[in-house]
């Protein structure tokens, strides 16, 4: 059943391309704004690059979540899912997984101008970096999908999601930036593994909580 739901999420996104296009465009805008605010035309900015990267991811993920849940509200499509014999926890998992996939796709595109415009040196050990980004994405989308479901029937849900999400994600923001910094500086993994541990525990805790509690917030 979860595969049906994930397929549905990705198909809706593939047809409309709303999340993807808005997220990709928004990341470009953020990158250029970073360049104007933090960068002198001659400098290199490796020190700030991890922070800028995760701010970009955080902001674009909120846009993606908004679109993804707007699909559910239009035509009250969500009622078709809710009235079907589908486990509510699986609805959460499908949103989480598909959201992470779309976010990763956007990052794959946005990373090119990010490296190019902000003159980033590509660090060694690409696999480590991919692992960190994967964990960060998964953690952000876990709580993001949950809170979007929580807020989807409120007025001002577009505003509520970031206001609730960002402080709740503060461990993820810190851990992602710290581990990315460790990786970019080429430090051995032992130095920054605590941060990876924080990311993993966040994913486990909120993945389980989200799966169990989603049933209580989907109903009108």
């Amino acid at each position: 059943m979860i595969m049906v739901l994930i397929k549905k999420e990705l198909l809706t996104e593939l047809r409309a391309k709303e999340s993807f296009v808005t997220m990709a465009a928004f990341s470009m805008v953020i990158i250029v704004s970073f360049a104007f605010t933090f960068i002198s035309p001659s400098g290199r900015f490796m020190e700030m690059a991890p922070g800028m990267f995760w701010i970009m991811v955080l902001f674009t993920s909120v846009l993606g979540l908004q679109r993804s849940f707007a699909y559910e509200s239009e035509f009250d499509a969500f009622s078709a899912i809710l009235s079907a014999p589908v486990d509510r926890g699986e609805i959460f998992l499908a949103k989480w997984i598909s959201g992470s996939i779309v976010l990763t796709m956007v990052e794959t595109i946005a990373i090119v101008p990010f490296i190019l415009f902000l003159r980033i040196e590509i660090p060694a050990n690409l696999l480590e970096g991919i692992g960190i980004i994967f964990l960060g994405n998964t953690a952000i989308m876990c709580l993001g999908s949950f809170l979007s479901g929580l807020a989807m029937r409120s007025r001002l849900s577009n505003v509520l999601v970031p206001i609730l999400l960002f402080p709740l994600l503060s461990p993820v923001i810190i851990a992602s930036v710290k581990s990315t910094t460790g990786w970019v500086r080429g430090l051995p993994i032992g130095v920054w593994e605590t941060w990876v541990f924080i990311l993993v525990s966040f994913i486990v805790i909120f993945g389980l909580l989200g799966y169990t509690l989603f049933a209580h917030i989907t109903e009108e």
Partner: protein, 218 residues
């Protein structure tokens, strides 16, 4: 007419809390020893730490009543959760005000990212979102459910926030409050007394607020 305080037991506790608080303040001002280097600034700890304790206790109660609300679907638990959230946020605001008052003369700066204060600030922000969620919800019965879930999520986040914030700025030392236990009894006893006063005050406030919410028909 105020039915809450016309109840004799409640009236007794109101008088007791009032008396205890007066004794507490006098005790803190005149009776506690001056700590070298900190002088008067240190005395704010007799308010700061009990406020933090009641604030976090309150958020713990929000979580417990959230779980009970989801299981029993009894409005009573929603009222307790909302009251605890409100009062907890009030006490954490007190923590955020008294922290910089102490830090300014001691550390020379009103705000440094001390782990426990940072955690308090993050939680305070989460609960601002909590109240916004409650008031912007489509109807109060659903708001009760989302608030219960949010209370659980917020509390589950606390240990991760504490842990990450601590490692985020390891160079910044925590306040010396952990060592409070090893302080001479001149400090420890008034401190325990103050925490007791705050706890009794807290539970009276909670009872009163739950009562008011019930009268409002929530």
């Amino acid at each position: 007419m105020n039915p809450f305080f016309s109840n004799r037991i409640n009236l007794f506790w109101l008088a007791t809390v009032f008396l205890l608080m007066v004794v507490n303040v006098i005790n803190i001002i005149y009776n506690t020893p001056m700590v070298p280097d900190q002088e008067w600034a240190q005395k704010i700890f007799y308010v700061h730490v009990p406020s933090a304790w009641t604030g976090f206790l309150s958020y713990f109660i929000v979580m417990i009543s959230g779980i009970l609300f989801l299981i029993k679907k009894d409005q009573k638990w929603d009222r307790i959760g909302l009251a605890a959230a409100e009062i907890g946020t009030l006490f954490l605001a007190l923590v955020l005000i008294t922290g910089p008052i102490w830090a300014k003369p001691i550390w020379g700066r009103a705000w440094i990212w001390e782990p426990r204060l940072t955690t308090t600030l993050v939680l305070f922000l989460i609960y601002i979102g909590y109240f916004m969620m409650r008031s912007f919800s489509d109807y109060p019965e659903r708001a009760a459910r989302t608030a219960a879930v949010l209370g659980i999520i917020a509390f589950a986040d606390i240990p991760i926030i504490v842990f990450s914030v601590k490692f985020w700025s390891p160079e910044i030392q925590s306040h010396p409050q952990v060592e409070m236990a090893s302080q001479p009894p001149g400090i420890l006893l008034p401190f325990i007394f103050s925490i007791t006063c705050f706890s009794i005050l807290y539970f009276l406030m909670l009872r009163y607020r739950v009562h008011v919410l019930k009268l409002q028909g929530r």
